[in-house]
Subunit: 221 residues, 2 copies
C-alpha cells in the first residue's frame, strides 16, 4: 500500500510559516547585531518553532543528547519523523539549510530537491542523502514515492513548493502546528492557493500548552 503525501509546518495565527527571509541562519552574530531585521527574523522563527525545541525527540534527532520533554508535542514531532519514508524539498529551503544543517542532517532519509541545478547526490552522516531533480514536482514525487515504500512522503517545504503541490492536487493531508504568535509580515502558507479547487476535512485537533496541532485531509471540490 502506498503511503500518503503530506506536509507538516508551524504557522503563526496570522498564517505565516516563515519570516520574510532566512538570511539570519547563515549570518554571524555581528551581522545580526548590525541588522535588526536579521534579529527580528530569527526571533520570529524561534517563536514559531518554540513548541518543538524542548521535546525529547528534537534533542535526540539533532544529537543534542539525553533529556527533553515527553508529551503531546514530543509525540507529534516523533510521529511526523517516523512516518516519513522520504521527502521533497524546494530549492530555496535547501539553499537556506545547506550551510546551516549539521553534518549529521536531521532528515535521516532520502530527500529530493526540486531545482534547476544539476548536481550529484550529496550524502550526509546518519542516512540523509539529497538527490537533485531537474524535471519538476511531479517527477520528484514519483521518485520519492519509489524510495518511500509503504511509508509516507513528506513535502518538507518551503512554502512555495508546498503550495505548488497543493494546487496540483497532490497532497493527501497536512498538519499545522498553530503557534500563538502574530508575524504581520513573512511567507504565507496559502498565499496564491487555488481556493476553488481545495476542500478540507478536519481530521484531528489537539492542543499542548504551547501550540495547537491541526490535521486536515485535502479533498477535491
Amino acid at each position: 500500500m502506498a503511503g500518503k503525501v503530506f506536509f507538516s509546518v508551524s504557522m503563526s495565527l496570522d498564517g505565516f510559516i516563515a519570516p520574510e527571509s532566512m538570511e539570519w541562519l547563515t549570518a554571524t552574530a555581528e551581522q545580526r547585531t548590525q541588522d535588526p531585521r536579521l534579529e527580528r527574523w530569527m526571533a520570529q522563527w524561534m517563536e514559531l518553532q518554540q513548541w518543538v525545541f524542548p521535546t525529547r525527540f528534537f534533542r535526540e534527532n539533532l544529537r543534542f543528547g539525553e533529556g527533553g520533554e515527553e508529551g503531546l508535542d514530543n509525540d507529534i514531532a516523533r510521529l511526523t519523523f517516523e512516518r516519513t519514508g522520504a521527502s521533497v524539498m524546494g530549492k530555496r529551503m535547501f539553499d537556506a539549510g545547506e550551510h546551516s544543517w549539521p553534518e549529521d542532517a536531521p532528515f535521516h532519509t532520502p530527500v529530493f530537491v526540486v531545482t534547476h541545478e544539476k548536481r550529484d547526490p550529496w550524502e550526509r552522516l546518519g542516512g540523509t542523502r539529497f538527490y537533485f531533480v531537474n524535471d519538476g514536482i511531479e517527477s520528484a514525487l514519483s521518485q520519492v514515492r519509489d524510495v518511500a515504500g509503504d511509508r509516507d512522503v513528506r513535502i518538507a517545504g518551503g512554502g512555495a513548493t508546498i503550495l505548488e503541490y497543493v494546487n496540483a492536487g497532490l497532497i493527501d493531508e497536512f498538519s499545522i502546528a498553530l503557534s500563538p504568535v502574530l508575524f504581520g509580515t513573512g511567507i504565507r502558507l496559502f498565499e496564491g492557493v487555488d481556493a476553488g479547487r481545495v476542500a478540507l476535512e478536519p481530521i484531528r485537533a489537539e492542543s499542548s500548552p504551547r501550540v495547537t496541532h491541526l490535521t486536515y485531509a485535502v479533498r477535491e471540490r
Copy 2:
C-alpha cells in the same frame, strides 16, 4: 468588577474573516445569478459560518423556532452571546447589516457604531438599540463599558474595527472559530497588525466536528 473587552469571529484557515465584499447580503437572487462574484462571496460566508447555523442558539436568537443542535458549537455560540453586555461595531459592518438584519436584530443589547454619521439612536425589536458615536474608538469603548456593567464588551466587527482595537492595545482576549476552508482572497483579520506590540497567550482550544474554537489572551510585548 469591569468586564473584559473581547472579539469573537469565524476565520478561514488562511486567515480571512469575510469575503472581499458583503454586497451579496442585499443583492437579489437575480443579481446573484448575473454576477458570479456575488454567488462566490455568499458561498464563502456560508462556509465560514457553517458551524453556527445548525445550533439551537442560532435558531432561537433569530426566532427561527424550536430545534437545532446542542453540543460544543451551541454552548460557545450561547456563551458568547450571554457574556456580552454591549457591543461596538464599525461603520462598514453596520452598513452591511442595516438592511439585512431582521427587525428583531440579533444583538438584544446596546450596540455602539463608530461612524462619522450623526444620527439619533435606532431602536429595534427585542432590545437592540444602535447608538452612533462620532469621536473615535476610545470614546465608543468608554461609552459601551458604562452600559455593559459587569458583563463583557464585544467588538463585533468588522475586521478593520477589530484591528484598530487590537493595535490600540484595548483587547483583553479573543476567540476564533477556525473553519476548515480556504478563501484565497477576502478580508484578513490580522492584515496590518502591530506584531511587535501584541503577544498572545493560549487560553483554550476545543474542536467540534465542524470547527476549532481557539481563545487567546492579549498581552503587551
